[in-house]
């Protein structure tokens, strides 16, 4: 099985020693993200993001199906993040590795279980018809911090996506084509984002947005998810060295400004794209949406 190239001992000690002096190898401040670049495809819900060298593509798609019998009033929302050998040769198809399991679990907790998406709004006819929304996350290039990048990409895609409009008349349901009726935005309750803190040196040094090299030498990571109002959705610490409770409290305070900055960047990108799409200035008239 191919393996990812590991850092040499010299590289390890170089990075660690630099970190002890609060220096990162790419000269970033410890609390700064790399440059975030958000691009939208022509289709709704198609988002490509680049966070430094990490590149992630998200594609949202939806179809009409029958809801789960035990959840008659809910639509279906599936997040799929299968890694491919494209990002790193160590990722094998059909054999999920630890990173992949971790990423899907975190996204599940951060976005699905924190009810970012109102799945009830995907219901068309209770018990018989609903939308099944599927998010495919493709990791194209892996240079660390996949969790934050995937979370940003997915939240952007959810805000960008439009589902086809439907009319219900008794038992018959008409799904209107995108050209026939202006498609409808998803109903999102809040916009959680993940911030991963990588800690070193018994928790004395802490970094956000670690690169792959920095991830390889860290003692452990703590993933904090919150929305821009500072509401905490989840905290995860999978293994690694122990950290004391004060650090966790401290880091959750540090996460808020990060989340707010990222939210601003996402919003700016979305507004920019909306302006491009609204070429004739007719969007306001076409849309039947109400301001929430």
């Amino acid at each position: 099985m191919p393996r990812e190239a590991e850092l040499s001992n010299n590289e390890r000690s170089f990075i660690l020693q630099a970190l002890q002096e609060n220096q990162r190898i790419d000269a970033r401040p410890v609390d700064q993200y790399r440059k975030l670049d958000i691009k939208f495809g022509e289709d709704y819900g198609s988002v490509d993001i680049a966070l430094g060298k990490t590149q992630i593509a998200v594609r949202l798609s939806c179809e009409v199906t029958a809801p789960y019998p035990e959840r008659k009033f809910d639509g279906i929302f599936i997040i799929s993040c299968e890694f491919s050998p494209m990002a790193s040769p160590e990722f094998e198809i059909g054999r999920p590795n630890l990173d992949e399991i971790l990423l899907s679990r975190i996204l599940e907790k951060a976005i699905r279980r924190s009810s970012a998406l109102d799945t009830e709004s995907l219901c068309i006819v209770a018990g018989s018809k609903c939308f099944a929304l599927r998010a495919d996350i493709h990791v194209l290039d892996h240079d660390g911090n996949l969790i934050d990048a995937a979370c940003i990409a997915l939240m952007t895609a959810l805000q960008h996506f439009r589902r086809p409009d439907v009319t219900v008349d008794g038992d018959s349901v008409t799904v209107h084509d995108i050209r026939e009726r202006e498609p409808v935005a998803l109903s999102l309750i809040h916009h959680p984002l993940c911030v991963t803190f990588s800690h070193y040196n018994e928790g004395k040094t802490v970094l956000v947005d670690a690169t792959q090299a920095e991830e390889q030498v860290r003692d452990g990571q703590v993933i904090i998810t919150m929305n821009r109002h500072g509401e905490l959705c989840q905290i995860a610490k999978y293994g690694g060295a122990a950290v004391d409770a004060y650090s966790i409290v401290n880091w959750s305070n540090m996460a808020l400004p990060q989340v707010q900055t990222l939210s601003e960047l996402i919003k700016a990108a979305l507004d920019d794209d909306a302006k491009k799409r609204d070429a004739g200035g007719l969007m306001a008239e076409l849309s039947a949406e109400n301001e929430r």
Partner: protein, 232 residues
Amino acid sequence: MTTTILHPLSSPDGSATHTAHGHTITAAVNGPLEVPRRDELPEEATVELHIRPATGISTIRERSLELLLEPTIRRLIRTETYPRTLIQLTLQILRSESSSTNTLTQVPALLGAAMLALLDGGVALRTTVVPALAVTARGQGAVLVDDVTEYEGEWDGTHVFGITGEGKVILAKSEGSFGVEEWKDACAVAVQGIMEGEEEDSDEEMYGDGDGGKQETGREWLMGVMAEKESS
């Protein structure tokens, strides 16, 4: 529109993003790598090809495309120069225009992306291959199409060819209704279009914008992409 970006990704050895016939594909090649024991071949490299759809899990459709392209690509690579190693190719479909539902129209885009990634990755190759898509209508001649999504006209048969540097056909796959003569015509048109460019009196579309004068042939297009890489 045929567009190409070489080396869009930093971690794989070679990568390319290629758009053709309404399909956008990102290809990445890694190799030579350590090969799992069970796949190891004593005298040549193992070639692995994965095709991943933009949405949903990979199905029998992707498997059939893999089965079509994998032997073609394996024959291109000088596998004997990398014994007991693995050359891993991943083709990620990023976008498919809804108007191009035909599976076969994906093949030229996939093959083009794979070829460019292999060249970008510096994998030893026997020859290069340029994909071509030709359409035939019953009772009419074959036409080489640059972009099937912009092609105006009805057709009955779709033909995909992979043309090597020597002008030989390494891959041929067809769909629809057509006769032997029509197929031969399509094949000849594809070879000619890739190797020599179009004839003066025909209205076939070729790679590139072709603003007046003789249009770029498929081979010149591949050369152009690689020359740009050289100079950068």
